[in-house]
Symmetry: C2
């Protein structure tokens, strides 16, 4: 096994990076282990060497996305000058920006993945549900104290849901 293929990422990393992109564009339900292997250029046997299931890889993809999103997008934006409302608007715009922009750089995933996954899990994925709840709780706390943080996060996630169907330019503003 070489560890320098495909932009120098090793197999585990390639699976995680591929999962971030595929889960983001396709959601959780329509993606199987086969597709996750194909997008990463990895044999199915290798998959189970690193992950026990699709849910297991999805948890790793969530952790990767959240770490990058928090450190690359949210924290720098919160540190910028300006009033809270304008900072929130900047974060919202980053989340709702053109998908192609984000897909061009798999190292910069954005918020859609979390909202999409949250809306597609069922009672059958308690680990995913619990990890998403942790991420949302951490994210809300970064955006504001108590109910203020939840309101700001609900605003972002709600606009993301709307942007799946309605032209994003209509729903980003306000």
């Amino acid at each position: 096994m070489t560890t320098t293929q495909n932009h120098g990422l090793d197999t585990r990393d390639r699976l995680i990076e591929g999962a971030v992109g595929l889960l983001h564009s396709q959601g959780y339900r329509s993606v199987g282990v086969k597709a996750l292997c194909e997008v990463a250029g990895v044999q199915k046997g290798s998959f189970y060497h690193f992950f026990s299931s699709k849910e297991d890889l999805t948890l790793a993809a969530l952790d990767r996305s959240w770490d990058l999103f928090r450190t690359d997008v949210i924290e720098p934006m919160l540190a910028e000058p300006g009033d809270p409302a304008s900072r929130l608007r900047t974060i919202r715009e980053a989340c709702l920006g053109p998908v192609s922009e984000h897909h061009a750089d798999p190292h910069r995933p954005h918020g859609c993945l979390f909202g999409r996954l949250a809306a597609s899990i069922t009672a059958g994925e308690p680990l995913l549900r619990a990890r998403l709840a942790e991420i949302f709780t951490e994210w809300a706390a970064l955006l504001g104290e108590g109910s203020e943080g939840w309101t700001a996060l609900a605003d972002i996630l709600g606009r993301l849901v709307l942007a799946f169907t309605v032209d994003a330019s209509e729903v980003v503003g306000a």
Copy 2:
């Protein structure tokens, strides 16, 4: 074929009612024609007599849900006395209320179905996407003019997404 089985609903109605409940609890991806027939107590052959595909039935389920939700929930609440903020809070609570309460009465579906479907469709379902966009546009216009309506709707949908993972009592307030 009798048309009076199952609470007097005919076959087409039973399929639609069943689809509303199943799509709401399971999402679009994990539900197939087989499950939609089973929940309605309908043979697969009868399904294709009424609907050409899962997407076709889902469109009918969306129309049914939206008609009932608009006339039974949103419009009566908007007509109640009080300031706009308290009316919005009432609508939000109705959307985020206990699932069991809504499931107990299939004639009173709630907003979850729209948010869940919006977050689970992909580019492969243009008709669903277009119908959801129409519903969201109509819904936003009921809640407020221009960006105000979109903001109010984003708030509701975002709290719905959060409530899939985080305890609803944490995210309903504010």
